[in-house]
């Protein structure tokens, strides 16, 4: 058998798989109109917010950290949205689907990190007066100004 024949046979077998699935499953489900409408609505809303936010972005500083002008409430909403989208939608729902209420343990693990980070890190970041974590680490670790600073201290 030549390789072309193998590929043709594999393609035919793969192409027949949906037919097999169709034959095995009972009647096909119709289109889930409410789900599609909700999906399109969410995408449209996200695009609208992105368009609105992009119009306010002028400089590189705006682009990286919103010009340092994010309020506490906005930041809280952003963190809440981050946790809700990734962890809740994918992690918790699938864990509870797969493992029953044992998956609830994941909720606890999810929430325990944020208070500990708040108690141990927040004050230090605030004292440093830097805006993002990247700013803080580059403040500590940037190799270029550090020798200069050491030299000045010795003087």
């Amino acid at each position: 058998m030549t390789s072309a024949r193998i590929i043709a046979a594999a393609t035919a077998a793969l192409g027949a798989t949906p037919l097999l699935a169709l034959a095995a499953d009972a009647p096909r489900q119709g289109a889930n109109i409410p789900a599609i409408v909700m999906f399109v609505l969410f995408v449209a809303l996200t695009l609208a917010i992105t368009y609105w936010a992009a119009k306010r972005t002028k400089t590189a500083s705006d682009y990286y950290a919103a010009g340092g002008g994010i309020t506490g409430t906005q930041n809280g909403l952003a963190i809440a949205g981050d946790i809700l989208s990734a962890a809740t939608l994918l992690g918790i729902s699938s864990l509870i689907y797969g493992k029953g209420y044992d998956g609830f343990l994941y909720c606890l693990c999810l929430i325990v990190g944020s208070p500990v980070i708040l108690f141990l890190m927040a004050e230090r970041l605030r004292n440093l007066g830097r805006y993002t974590f990247a700013d803080v680490t580059s403040f500590r670790l940037d190799p270029r100004p550090t020798p200069d600073r050491c030299a000045r201290r010795r003087r």
Binding site: F104, L105, C107, V112
Partner: protein, 103 residues
């Protein structure tokens, strides 16, 4: 601010007290959260039957569910407590120290 002002802040009587109080609060709250969480995880690991006890006779819900919910609510309240203390107590002490120094 110049280094002379920093030196004055360091010499201010209230400053080391405030730093020590703040550190004690943050560390004890972190210990409470981590202790409860890892205690729960250790019970899950070594005695899962204990947490599988039903809430009442014939109930499907086990005591792990209300315990977990209580912990989540407690952590949330502790976050609020820390933010309240940081904004009300420590920020006002910081303002006092800065006012004394700038005089």
């Amino acid at each position: 601010m110049s280094s002379a002002v920093y030196e004055q802040i360091r010499r201010n009587r209230k400053y080391p007290l405030m730093v020590a109080r703040r550190r004690r609060l943050a560390h004890s709250l972190a210990m409470v959260v981590l202790g409860l969480f890892f205690g729960f995880i250790l019970v899950v690991a070594f005695d899962p039957k204990l947490l599988a006890t039903p809430v009442s006779d014939g109930a499907v819900t086990t005591i792990a569910i209300p315990l977990g919910v209580a912990m989540i609510v407690l952590f949330w309240l502790l976050t609020g407590f820390y933010v309240m203390r940081a904004q009300r107590d420590f920020d006002s002490i910081k303002k006092e120290i800065l006012k004394e120094v700038s005089q």
